[in-house]
């Protein structure tokens, strides 16, 4: 019962290149390595071919090309690579194919090439509509560039666009945040992600925070900004389906669907703790039993794959009970929560009994709602989800 309960899986491809590094970012990404774009795509392809035999029973229903900034790779090169990848993998007819993009790297011709190769969803890192806020994050693009890029994506025919926004930025106020929300909504994206800025150690922003006052909004203010997002997006008809994610419904969709129709299928694999294959530097994979991570070093990745070996640098296997805890930790991020019968089917453990004490305590605090079907966060717990999730790991 340990293997994932569905036969579909996600495929993640990491493109670890950027034009410049944003000051808050601690993800694996390299600047100034244009010379290895082609060898890197070749290495990705070799890694895929090495992995595919073990994943032959799986049908991929999503492909997510993330980064870094995938669109720093010239569009025709990237499009060819995506097209070839799709040709190699077993996939569903309606596979979701997402590419992450920075506004400054996107134009209509580029989008057209990607769409022709099979891409059907763009995730655009807008972050803010305020030039001052963007500048303090080290983002290269201007708010105008974001408008232009999104317009280009629309006119190229992209019908599924997700925007990334950030709250908790230096000097952010309720009025700048409201403007960011309203300008985003005016573009009618199919999907919106709203993440709180986290100061990761060893990033330029974290260093700056140590030496000067960054004027970061405190927790109280962040809670207020988050509440604004919830209200505005709900009013605009978006379904809040995960702590940080909202999506529009599809026109033909039934009212009792578990998630809004434009929910990110790829990310749902993560939140359901389902299988996903990750390719590329620093990518993670999970085959239902074991999770592994690739090396974070670009040159090592290239060298290892040139010898047709796998670039795995870390690996962990979870017991059924640990996996159950993770499934709950991830599943509770979804507002729909987790369902007892699904958990029992997957792990043959009565989660309700196992966590009876935690569930009772969290329910008494008004953070969790548990009933005969399952459990889910109460609205007030959306602000302090870690308090709830940490009880299950």
């Amino acid at each position: 019962m340990r293997s994932s309960h569905r036969q579909t899986a996600g495929l993640y491809i990491h493109i670890p290149f950027c034009d410049s590094k944003c000051w808050y970012c601690d993800f694996t990404s390299f600047v100034g390595r244009e010379g290895v774009f082609e060898p890197y795509l070749g290495a990705l392809r070799r890694e895929l071919l090495l992995r595919l035999p073990a994943w032959s029973q799986v049908t991929f229903d999503s492909l997510y090309v993330g980064g870094g900034t995938p669109t720093v790779i010239p569009a025709s090169l990237l499009a060819d690579f995506i097209g070839q990848t799709l040709a190699l993998i077993p996939k569903t007819h309606d596979i979701e194919v997402t590419v992450e993009a920075n506004p400054s790297t996107l134009d209509e011709a580029a989008v057209r090439k990607l769409l022709d190769a099979g891409v059907n969803r763009l995730s655009i890192g807008v972050q803010s509509w305020h030039s001052e806020e963007l500048a303090r994050l080290g983002r290269r693009h201007s708010p105008q560039a974001a408008s232009v890029a999104i317009a280009a994506a629309h006119s190229a025919g992209c019908t599924n666009i997700s925007l990334d926004l950030m709250l908790g930025l230096p000097a952010q106020t309720t009025s700048t945040w409201d403007e960011t929300l309203q300008r985003s909504l005016a573009l009618q994206p199919e999907h919106l992600s709203v993440y709180t800025l986290t100061l990761e150690p060893d990033t330029p922003l974290a260093h700056e925070a140590q030496t000067t006052t960054l004027d970061l909004p405190d927790d109280e203010r962040c809670a207020e900004l988050y509440a604004m997002a919830r209200n505005s997006l709900a009013q605009a008809g978006y379904g809040h389906y995960e702590l940080s994610n909202w999506a529009r419904r599809r026109q033909d969709e039934s009212a009792d669907a578990r998630y809004p129709g434009f929910a990110a299928r790829h990310n749902l694999h993560y939140w359901h703790n389902e299988r996903y294959l990750g390719l590329g530097v620093a990518a993670f994979s999970f085959d239902g039993l074991t999770r592994w991570g690739n090396t974070c070093l670009l040159d090592e990745y290239l060298a290892v794959l040139s010898q047709n070996r796998l670039p795995v640098s870390e690996q962990e296997s979870l017991s059924g009970r640990e996996a159950l805890g993770e499934t709950i930790m991830l599943g509770l991020r979804l507002l729909d929560g987790v369902y007892w019968d699904e958990l029992t089917d997957r792990y043959a453990i009565d989660a309700r009994a196992l966590y009876a004490r935690q569930i009772a305590g969290l329910s008494a605090e008004g953070l969790l709602e548990a009933d005969a079907l399952g459990m889910r966060l109460m609205p007030r717990a959306l602000y302090v989800a870690n308090r709830v999730l940490s009880e299950f790991v």
């Binding site: 993330g66 927790d219 993560y270 990750g278 805890g325 007030r380 302090v384 989800a385 870690n386 308090r387």
Partner: protein, 604 residues
């Protein structure tokens, strides 16, 4: 190994005494290596400290006894029994019995630090027991070492010639070969009659799950063998030894232990209580008439409640305490209940270090998650009805109207310091209600300051403060002095309007406002943000003397996880959960261990 017994003139029983960190354990290790008792490659640092905790804290908790065979320059083989002793003042009870098993002691003094409080305290204990002293200056390899000066200090102190004081570096091995010849030359061999009725001193013990209590013996008269009915003289307990043996350094069975020798017997007894340190072993038939010493049980000085964070662990805690007590006769406990913390145990400890060690061992070795309440001393309460009761838990203090007088324990302390720090240490002692007795110059570098001071005032961070004020050069020794009346009262702490009994402390009435506001300030700091506003109040005699509010938790959500790095996400949450260990839910509020110990740090 020989079983007929070594000739007494070729046996030496000795210990090493030193102030903490002066290098006693390192010297022991070198001696074990030198005599081939243990191979160098088998050495983990400080072999004698076998508990992990000892190694971590750099202290020796349990005395150990190792037999070493040594070929002397006279061509003869000697049996050298090294008895290790704890260095911390909390364990002076154990030290005194270990010393009783010896004829001599190596006195180790750090060449950079000179004579310190426990150097003297242990030396005086050794002189009391009439031990021959072999002075050794250690750490001569350090750049700031002043071995000649320290040797002169020792000359003044014990009347040996400064040039006879050995100068070594146990760490580097320098001059280590000079130590054992000095032991043989200056420490007298044991006396005793092998044919007399058996008298053997139990100077330590540990519990072995297969053999029962292993009693560490110094045979004074007679011979002890296995399979012979033996008698413990203070408890009249009769048992048969399963095995006799020596430590080499692990346990090695031998046929018999003779007068003058050191070793062990496996008693088969179930708890160290039945086989107490300081007791005398004799034979049931034709035994000795008089024990070696009057038995005196160790006296706990510090009391605290220990509670499981999870109430379901109460039984597990009881069993863990039982097992720990098998090995630690100075630990006492009895069941206690608290409104805030439910079921737990009131425990008595020799001192704060002992308390800390017990709590850590319970958590580490028995995998328990525990809360310890703030430590208390034992008060004498004279009631109006003429009755006197002992109170070591603030919650047991009777109603004020029923109290005639409360008396608190006072200690006699001696602080040893270079003269530069006299002023600041005087100030430290007097602001803690210390009464100055006298000051003696031991030499131009060293002064002994004596005070009487309430135990409750030195229980907490006094030693740290003393070290800080004297840049590490000051040291402290203390003994119980007397009970004295004081104007004491109970301070109650209310969290979210509910009194939390486990946070009550007994304080001086005139410190109520000061301690009350320090207490609520500290609680506000250590209680993590809660889901709702939580008031904290300190009250004395039903009157609130200070209040503050705990912060509200407003936002706590993890950011994006890229490329499916779920492991990292889980680890972040695990870390957060780890932070919640040692927290106790009281009503609707989660109170961390630090809050219960907040009273310890009220002056910060």
């Amino acid at each position: 190994m020989s079983t007929a017994g070594f000739p007494l003139e070729r046996i030496r029983n000795f210990c090493i005494i030193a102030h903490i960190d002066h290098g006693k354990s390192t010297l022991s290790d070198r001696l074990l290596e030198l005599t081939g008792t243990i191979e160098q490659r088998q050495m983990t640092d400080q072999v004698l400290d076998s508990m992990d905790l000892e190694r971590e804290k750099g202290i020796t908790i349990k005395a150990k006894a190792v037999r070493m065979l040594y070929r002397h320059s006279d061509g003869q083989e000697y049996e050298l029994n090294l008895i290790d002793t704890p260095g911390h003042v909390d364990f002076s009870y154990e030290v005194s019995h270990a010393l009783s098993a010896c004829e001599g002691a190596i006195l180790v003094v750090d060449a950079t630090q000179g004579i310190e409080a426990q150097t003297l305290a242990n030396l005086y204990l050794a002189i009391d027991k009439d031990l021959d002293i072999v002075p050794v200056v250690n750490k001569i390899d350090l750049p700031s070492a002043r071995p000649d000066e320290v040797a002169e200090e020792l000359e003044k102190l014990i009347g040996c010639a400064a040039e006879e004081v050995l100068q070594v570096s146990a760490k580097e091995g320098t001059h280590i070969e000079s130590v054992l010849p000095a032991v043989i030359a200056h420490i007298r061999p044991p006396e005793g009659e092998t044919d007399a009725p058996l008298r053997a001193l139990i100077f330590d013990s540990h519990y072995d799950p297969y053999k029962g209590v292993i009693a560490y013996l110094r045979v004074v008269d007679g011979t002890v063998r296995a399979a012979q009915p033996l008698l413990l003289m203070s408890s009249d307990k009769v048992f048969e030894a399963l095995e006799t043996g020596i430590f080499h350094p692990d346990m090695r069975p031998i046929d018999a232990l003779h007068a003058g020798e050191v070793g062990y017997i496996a008693t088969g007894l179930k708890t160290v209580r039945e086989c107490r340190v300081g007791d005398t072993v004799t034979t049931q038939a034709d035994g000795a008439g008089e024990p070696l010493f009057g038995y005196r049980p160790p006296k706990p000085m510090v009391f605290a409640g220990i509670y499981p964070v999870d109430n379901d662990d109460y039984q597990a805690l009881r069993e863990a305490l039982e097992k720990l007590q098998l090995n630690d006769a100075s630990l006492i406990y009895e069941p206690e209940s608290s409104v805030a913390l439910n079921q737990g145990f009131r425990c008595g400890f020799l001192g704060l270090l002992h308390m800390e060690i017990v709590q850590e061992r319970l958590e580490r070795e028995y995998n328990l998650d525990l809360i310890a309440t703030s430590p208390s001393v034992e008060y004498q309460v004279l009631k109006r009805n003429g009755e006197t009761i002992l109170v070591d838990n603030p919650e047991e203090l009777p109603d004020e109207s029923a109290i005639e007088e409360i008396r608190e324990p006072w200690m006699h302390i001696t602080i040893y310091t270079p003269p530069d720090y006299i002023g600041t240490l005087m100030d430290l002692a007097t602001t803690r209600r210390g009464e100055y007795i006298r000051m003696d110059y031991l030499d131009e570098h060293r002064v002994a300051l004596e005070f009487n001071i309430p135990l409750s005032e030195i229980l907490v961070d006094f030693h740290d403060e003393l070290k800080a004020r004297s840049r590490g050069y000051g040291s402290l020794d203390y003994t119980f002095s007397s009970y004295r009346a004081a104007d004491l009262t109970k301070m109650t702490v209310l969290v979210n309007e509910e009194p939390v009994d486990a946070l009550s402390i007994i304080i001086h009435r005139d410190q109520a406002y000061h301690k009350g506001s320090a207490m609520v300030r500290k609680m506000k700091e250590v209680i993590p943000p809660q889901m709702f506003k939580v008031p904290i109040q300190a009250a004395v005699g039903g009157k609130v003397v200070a209040r503050a509010n705990v912060q509200e938790l407003r936002k706590d959500v993890l950011a994006k996880c890229y490329g499916g790095d779920i492991t990292r996400k889980r680890k972040l949450l695990e870390k957060q959960k780890e932070g919640k260990k040692r927290m106790k839910r009281v009503g609707k509020v989660e109170i961390p261990q630090e809050a219960f110990m907040a009273v310890l740090k009220l002056e910060d």
